[in-house]
Symmetry: C2
Subunit: 432 residues, 2 copies
């Protein structure tokens, strides 16, 4: 049964602290295997990638078949349901419109001594996008990763997606095409990450790798970090729903289960100030569970990691929200109450306001990004955005007057650090 906590209970603090540290994923020690795979791909390139694909994906190909062809993409459109293709186009349009507002602005200014400072943003040239195969091969994730890169001005987006036993979700190809992905390779695992980071004869290296994957992919991203940039390491995801009694318990139950059906390690948490309402939601969850096609995933998620927390007032939810630092936060409250809470929250990935904003809308067609910091990492990171695909070049320009004004302080610090050469690079210009 999901855990039940009440802030009014004597042992609350202890139980809540324990709840926060619950491990939801068994960490796999795959570092050594991954290190060997990366070294092998660096050494033998395509040949290693092909061998490893045969081994792990039970799928035979040669170098010329690594890349998905435009014919295959055209065929994928034919296999796809037209209404879904239209829905993906709407999603792309809305994601693009929202992310365009994130493009950061360049800046130049003169300060009070006349020194010029500023910065210029430029796009990363080439980005690799990892898309998982099998059950978690989501077309929506392709859009969420590729569209912001395109908006940022990335010139080349290379996607990799494993095709276990040769099977490839046609909607993933359609989504890649709609998002403007330039190249698609039917490979996955640590070997795909290594190929993107170091390049092979067939695959040119990229500058940054984004996208979720299993433990091997995560370990590979960690190991190639530095050679290329990477996005966050995705953990099991979660939703926290803060709901008062003026909600339909069935709606809230559906939101909790939408999270739970992702993964047995997913977590759904309800915070409410009404004990009866909480009980109604739990009953609704039980009722709806048996109607889900993914019941065998959602049920253990809810049973093992689900929680309801009863608070005396919604106000009391605030510190709990920040400590949970949820990936997704629904505030199913009246407008005023939701907005007031929103302004005071410190740590959350994405906030869904009001009773008509199920988190699922944000997964697909809201326009905001569904790649969000999981497992409490909203404490230190943000959801994916245009910012992840641009970088800032800082600019400094002095004239002789400003150099004279600032020079002596620079020399003093340089000398205190034992860096004579630094001091000289300034003093030589000041005839000191």
């Amino acid at each position: 049964m999901p855990i039940k906590l009440k802030t009014s209970d004597a042992g609350f603090e202890e139980r809540f602290a324990a709840f926060l540290t619950t491990k939801r994923e068994v960490s796999q020690e795959v570092d050594d295997t991954v290190r060997e795979i990366i070294a092998d791909v660096r050494r033998r390139g395509d040949e290693a990638v092909i061998e490893l694909t045969r081994k792990f994906d039970r799928f035979d190909l040669d170098s010329s078949e690594l890349r998905v062809t435009s014919e295959e993409i055209a065929q994928a459109y034919e296999k796809a349901d037209p209404a879904t293709v239209e829905a993906l186009r709407l999603a792309r349009e809305r994601i693009e419109a929202h992310h365009r507002r994130q493009v950061p602005e360049d800046k130049r200014y003169s300060d009070k001594i006349g020194a010029e400072l500023g910065w210029r943003w430029t796009a990363i040239s080439a980005v690799g996008l990892y898309v998982p195969g099998g059950m978690a091969s989501y077309p929506s994730s392709v859009l969420m990763n590729a569209v912001p890169a395109r908006v940022a001005g990335v010139e080349r987006i290379a996607m990799v997606v494993p095709t276990p036993d040769g099977a490839l979700n046609p909607l993933v190809l359609v989504a890649a095409d709609i998002a403007g992905v330039d190249e698609i390779y039917r490979i996955g695992g640590a070997q795909a990450v290594a190929a993107l980071a170091y390049g092979t004869d067939t695959i040119a290296p990229v500058d940054k790798i984004v996208g979720p994957g299993n433990a091997y992919v995560a370990a590979a991203k960690r190991q190639v970090f530095g050679k290329v940039g990477i996005d966050m390491i995705a953990g099991p995801s979660e939703v926290l729903v803060v709901a008062d009694a003026n909600n339909n318990p069935d709606w809230i139950a559906a939101d909790l289960l939408a999270q739970a059906e992702h993964d047995q390690a997913a977590q759904s948490i309800l915070i409410t100030d009404d004990e009866d309402f909480g009980a109604s939601v739990e009953e609704a969850v039980d009722r709806q569970l048996s109607q889900l096609s993914r019941e065998e995933i959602a049920r253990p998620s809810w049973k093992d990691f689900g929680a309801t927390i009863l608070v005396n007032t919604i106000e009391e939810a605030l510190p709990l929200i920040d400590r949970i630092a949820p990936e997704h936060l629904e505030l199913a409250l009246d407008d005023d109450a939701g907005e007031a809470l929103l302004q005071r929250i410190q740590h959350a990935g994405a906030v869904f306001l009001g009773r008509h904003t199920p988190e699922v809308i944000g997964d697909y067609v809201g326009g905001s990004n569904h790649v969000l910091p999981t497992a409490r990492s909203a404490r230190f990171s943000s959801g994916l955005s245009v910012h992840d695909f641009v970088k800032r070049m800082s600019i400094l320009k002095l004239g002789p007057d400003q150099l004279r004004e600032l020079g002596p302080a620079a020399i003093a610090i340089a000398e205190s650090e034992g860096l004579d050469g630094h001091a000289r690079s300034v003093s030589i210009r000041l005839n000191l």
Copy 2:
């Protein structure tokens, strides 16, 4: 001797490509040692930290002595040269003024269907700052890491600095105090990173760890990434100076050596369109080398990794700059030529414009940050800024009308992904 390349030579492309991949650091395989240290600190906390400090820093302390006291900070001011303290204060003031302009703005807007979107930026609550001990224990780096965190609104900044044999640079304490660091612990290495990430009885855990360190520190940061955020992994640094013949060769030589004196693995590169000028700079480098107190560092750096590249026109420098993606780029050119080049550069950490902006000013008192992407990582990352200490919460709010408009597309995608529970969370609100 430093390498000499000419774009007009037949073998240029091949030699330049080889130059770009020159390894400047031997990568140390320290992962297993670091993994054990982190596990030990997680298990035994303070006790492990104290033992490891005794072992690696030859320094004995108990839990109550881990933290530097306010008396010690007061004493540090007494030991410090007042002019240097003033210079550090000027530096802090200028760094703060510049970084205030980086604070990002919140946003809320309604789109064409009336959906509300936006985001809110909030600060990371607690940040750990790693400061190396010994020769590379720079007060300027303390300012460059701590001031942006303070400007971002970080509530708690905890600094760690190893004190080999008990020795601690008083200016590091002064800089920490000037920057507003809240806590200072005299520990270093992987054990300090582990203590910051997981906490001990004495040291509360932080949410993100920044600052440079040796191979052990870098490996530890890589391993704790995910549990906490980390900044970039710093590699050996470099300067690229693009200079025409209208420069004083002594000035340019001094700039090249200011970089070379950092580290034997540092790299100084000159690109010029005038062969005689290039030769004059090289002669000036040789002359100045013997006058440097850190000659034994600067000479091998220049000899092993230095380079001059002769181009036919400054225009030709552009693609070379982007491929080098230098940490520091000096454009010692006329204003017009420098500005024109700047607007077209894609990859560089920081650009210093004109003949009176030696890179060293940016190290200390320019106001911009000196923590910059090294070793070609400017292809995918930026210098340290306020952005590294804030994160973005995304906001979405629909009313019934917007949910009706977007709902069917969300349901279509959810069903195509086999996520019935997602579809239901929308359809249940639409009475579908």
